[in-house]
């Protein structure tokens, strides 16, 4: 009997607790949803109708504001391309101490915000310790140094409210694994925003946190070594121009062929090219008829050739092709031989662009050697178009 009562009591208790648990679960679920906004990641939210710029404006927009200057002063006075790691940490630590000393961070949200920033600076200080007097730029090249994550950003991990999607704005500092939310805003699908926000910091706290994160981000951005890269990018672009725009010209089929056969990358223009079925006008000088200075207009077809580019800027090229010549005068007959291609792509070489060939021709009246000259050379020499006797 006693056993029966014990079982009965347990059953009832169990039933009650099940009911209570169900009610609790339901309540918890709604609490969890509410806490997403009102108790977001350990920060207590407060409904606000309007927010000062510290919440809604980027660091660069805040920098000239008097509130920012009162906290940081002029960040440009600290920034320098050779800013040392030690100086960087001191600047952040000084500002952090200043924030800690002020009364505005004495509430729970303020303390939590300070703890997060301190933890982040601790991580930074440890990572930068080996570099000390060395430049921040040098240290920042090492992937193990966590210098990123000071920018204001957004996440969408809050539930909808009255059909409006919520976005949390704040500093989600990757390295420390902690989030420092500023506020939540809601907007509908037509972009119309709810006039009520949920803020997690007071105005003073927001100004200090925003100014602190901007200083950390700004100082780091100022040491990025962009200057030396400008010259390298200019040089790379010039090399491409020299190759494609001032090098030995290519027909579409040559472009296709060279694209497949010649290795290149965006920062490594090709060092050579193949010539294939390349037709160009030229003139022939028949050596066996040199006394009469006979020039013959001709179509020169470079059947197959190879051109090598020299210098980092692909500043000049030298190559050769197997050539067939089709003179305008059928009596001269088909010519065949080799052509040398030499030119400066930058205009600095003393020689003009040179397409000079030595060909054998089999004419109706006579066979013999002839010289072929590319038409560009003639233009440069001021001889104009070809002439016939």
């Amino acid at each position: 009997m006693i056993r029966y009562w014990i079982v009965l009591v347990l059953l009832v208790a169990s039933g009650c607790s099940t009911v209570e648990r169900a009610e609790f679960s339901s309540a918890t679920a709604s609490l969890v949803r509410a806490q997403d906004t009102l108790k977001y990641r350990g920060f207590t939210g407060e409904k606000r109708e309007a927010l000062p710029k510290a919440f809604t404006h980027s660091g660069v927009q805040l920098r000239n504001e008097p509130e920012y200057e009162a906290i940081v002063g002029d960040p440009g006075a600290i920034a320098a391309p050779d800013l040392s790691c030690e100086r960087y940490v001191i600047a952040l630590r000084t500002l952090l101490d200043q924030m800690e000393a002020s009364k505005s961070f004495s509430d729970a949200n303020g303390e939590r915000a300070l703890d997060i920033l301190k933890a982040r600076v601790d991580v930074l200080e440890r990572a930068l310790a080996p570099y000390k007097e060395r430049s921040l730029a040098e240290a920042s090249e090492r992937m193990s140094v966590p210098l990123e994550g000071w920018e204001k950003t957004q996440v969408g991990d809050v539930p909808e409210r009255s059909g409006r999607k919520g976005v949390v704005h704040g500093f989600f500092l990757a390295a420390s694994g902690s989030s420092l939310p500023l506020y939540v805003a809601y907007e509908d699908e037509r972009g119309v925003e709810d006039p009520t926000y949920f803020a997690f910091l007071t105005d003073e706290q927001a100004w200090s946190v925003a100014a602190f994160c901007d200083l950390a981000s700004y100082l780091k951005a100022q040491v990025v070594p962009i200057g030396p890269l400008v010259a390298k990018m200019d040089a790379g672009d010039l090399a491409w121009e020299n190759y494609l725009q001032r090098g030995y010209p290519q027909y579409p089929w040559e472009n296709l062929l060279n694209d497949k056969l010649v290795s290149s990358a965006w920062n490594r223009p090709p060092t050579h090219q193949f010539v294939f079925l390349h037709a160009a006008p030229g003139v022939l000088f028949l050596l066996d008829d040199a006394k009469s200075s006979t020039f013959e207009a001709a179509l020169l077809v470079q059947a197959l050739g190879y051109i090598r580019y020299f210098d980092e800027d692909r500043g000049w090229y030298l190559g050769g092709s197997l050539t067939a010549a089709f003179p305008a005068d059928d009596d001269v007959g088909l010519g065949y031989g080799v052509t040398v291609h030499l030119a400066s792509t930058t205009g600095t070489l003393a020689l003009p662009p040179l397409d000079l060939g030595v060909l054998w021709h089999e004419g109706q009246d006579s066979d013999g050697v002839m010289i072929s000259v590319g038409v560009d050379v003639l233009k440069l020499l001021g001889q104009g178009s070809s002439k016939k006797p």
Partner: protein
């Protein structure tokens, strides 16, 4: 000392220096002036907050290919050639009576060259990288945030350029945030074609071609860029094949689809798509760094203007182009198919 530098990357077609003065900039500024505190600002005051930096790359393609082909063909114009060769040269001379329409040479060729020639892609990337680096230096001197706004072919160009720069041995320290480099504050792509004309060969010695698949590449919010907005018009036939629609978290990624237009010919245009109030406000908040931009009343006014300006919205357009692509919109079109698709698209729109 501008606070935000906005790099503008154009799409296909000829773009001389100052190309955005009469196209994109008025559109961006008109939308910006719909919001306080910019409503009554002078151009100089606005420039202090948002400075435009044009990037051009079509001259690289034009001078390296189209013009050189034309010069070569012109040089042998008077020469006796076999009929078949003569017709090819006639096309390369781009004469009015040639079979290829002018649109092919002025617009479609850019996309074809970028898509099919690794050297063309490499030369464009290097040229754009040069301009970005110069612009970035100016932004650093200003202590400014940097943003990118790209359209059509420019979306693919900037995608590959950012990847190459972040991976390059000499450029990573400037362009890879994990190596101490900068992180672009925002990237906006309008009519994104990065999957249509995605790289077939890697243009970088440091990356495999798979690293250039735009749904999975490092050009994402929180990685090489902080925020990423993609704007697409539902009726933009240029984005029918292999649509860019990654399954990324919002934020830091936003996908805005628009469906209104004034003229069929303008659907693909930057202005038609950027003018959408949600798109414009989203982008301008990022570009100015003011997250409170656009009150409820301002947004309502912007919607009214949009409804008046863009009256048309019709489905079922361009059925022939859908047929061209076939039942699988994910099918990768080859360079030749893509050329025919663009020419067909042009005909369809003009018809």
């Amino acid at each position: 000392m501008a606070k935000n530098h906005l790099f503008l990357i154009h799409g296909i077609g000829r773009h001389e220096k100052g190309w955005s003065d009469t196209t994109w900039q008025p559109c961006i500024l008109e939308n910006l002036k719909a919001f306080a505190p910019y409503t009554d600002m002078s151009p100089e005051e606005i420039d202090n907050d948002l400075h435009f930096f044009e990037v051009t790359y079509d001259a690289v393609l034009d001078k390296s290919y189209r013009q050189r082909w034309k010069e070569l063909a012109n040089a042998i114009a008077d020469t006796a050639l076999p009929a078949s060769v003569r017709s090819v040269m006639q096309e390369l001379r781009q004469e009015p009576d040639a079979r290829l329409p002018e649109y092919f040479w002025t617009h479609a060729l850019d996309a074809i060259l970028w898509f099919s020639l690794k050297q063309a892609r490499g030369a464009v990337i290097q040229n754009v990288a040069k301009q970005l680096t110069r612009g970035l230096k100016a932004a650093q001197l200003d202590g400014a945030d940097v943003h990118i706004l790209s359209h059509s072919l420019g979306t693919s160009v900037i995608h590959d350029t950012l990847l190459c720069l972040a991976a390059g041995t000499e450029s990573a320290t400037v362009y890879d945030p994990n190596r101490g480099g900068i992180r672009w504050k925002s990237l906006v792509t309008v009519a994104n074609v990065s999957r249509v004309v995605g790289a077939m060969d890697s243009p970088s010695d440091d990356l495999d071609v798979d690293a250039f698949r735009s749904h999975f590449s490092r050009v994402q919010g929180g990685d090489l860029v902080q925020f990423f907005v993609n704007i697409r018009h539902a009726l933009d036939a240029v984005t029918f094949p292999r649509r860019f629609k990654p399954d990324w978290e919002t934020p830091p990624f936003w996908y805005v689809e628009t469906d209104r237009y004034d003229e069929l010919l303008n659907i693909h245009d930057f202005e038609t798509q950027f003018d959408h109030p949600v798109a414009a406000r989203r982008c301008l908040r990022l570009f100015t760094g003011i997250d409170s931009l656009g009150t409820a009343d301002e947004m309502k006014a912007l919607w009214r203007r949009y409804d008046q300006k863009y009256g048309q919205s019709a489905g079922g357009l361009f059925s022939r182009l859908h047929e061209f692509i076939g039942p699988d919109p994910e099918r990768k079109l080859g360079p030749g198919e893509l050329a025919r698709y663009f020419v067909e698209l042009r005909r369809e729109v003009l018809a």
